[in-house]
Symmetry: C2
Subunit: 128 residues, 2 copies
């Protein structure tokens, strides 16, 4: 059981994660939350992320070759797009993977899950 108090830090951190357009890294969360709480410590960010995960409010997102990112739980099955220019990660609504869970591929691989990341340029970076 986790006793949780309503602190400014916790509210700012959770707010930044929930209102983000995609998963955020620890340093991104720290940077954004620091805008309203300039003395916010990085340890508090790590601690709060840990409790928010235990409470099921956020989930971790693993991207190839990067540190863990975190986003709101309950967004359902979706994937991510990483922009090569602004280096931000965005949630996508589409799932272009044509392999239902339980499919067995040639070679006998029984697929239960998949992780897809798309790369390119986001709309605002394409425009410039």
């Amino acid at each position: 059981m986790v006793i949780v108090r309503r602190t400014k830090q916790r509210q700012a951190i959770l707010n930044k994660i929930l209102s983000a357009e995609g998963p955020l890294s620890v340093s991104q969360i720290h940077g954004r939350a620091s805008e309203e709480l300039p003395r916010l410590g990085i340890a508090t960010v790590y601690r709060t992320i840990k409790t928010l995960r235990e409470e099921g409010e956020i989930v971790s997102v693993e991207l190839p070759g990067e540190e863990a990112h975190y986003e709101s739980a309950g967004r359902g099955h979706h994937h991510h797009f990483r922009c090569w220019s602004c280096e931000q990660v965005f949630d996508l609504g589409v799932c272009p993977v044509g392999i239902p869970s339980g499919t067995t591929l040639p070679g006998g691989y029984r697929v239960e899950e998949h992780n897809l990341t798309l790369y390119g340029r986001c709309s605002s970076c394409v425009a410039t």
Copy 2:
């Protein structure tokens, strides 16, 4: 590093990578090559991987939430399957991602590349 000598270490490391069924981590490469060269140092593995990449013989493979893996270059566009039981990574021949390079998704995301990892159980682990 222009001059490359044919050492037992280099041959063993390259052989393990080229003959693998999928990309290998540094510790996996070290473990497998150590079977024939018991005194092989981990630094030699890192050094050899670096030169093999510079020569274009191998490429790095990034898997979500894992250290870099390495496999033979020139295997073309493909994806990977990670077995939850034996924890090995296998190359797949299929590409079930229905997004050609250059596609623009809703939201204006211009997709140029993708990275897909499938998860489940491999044939030998399903059998047991």
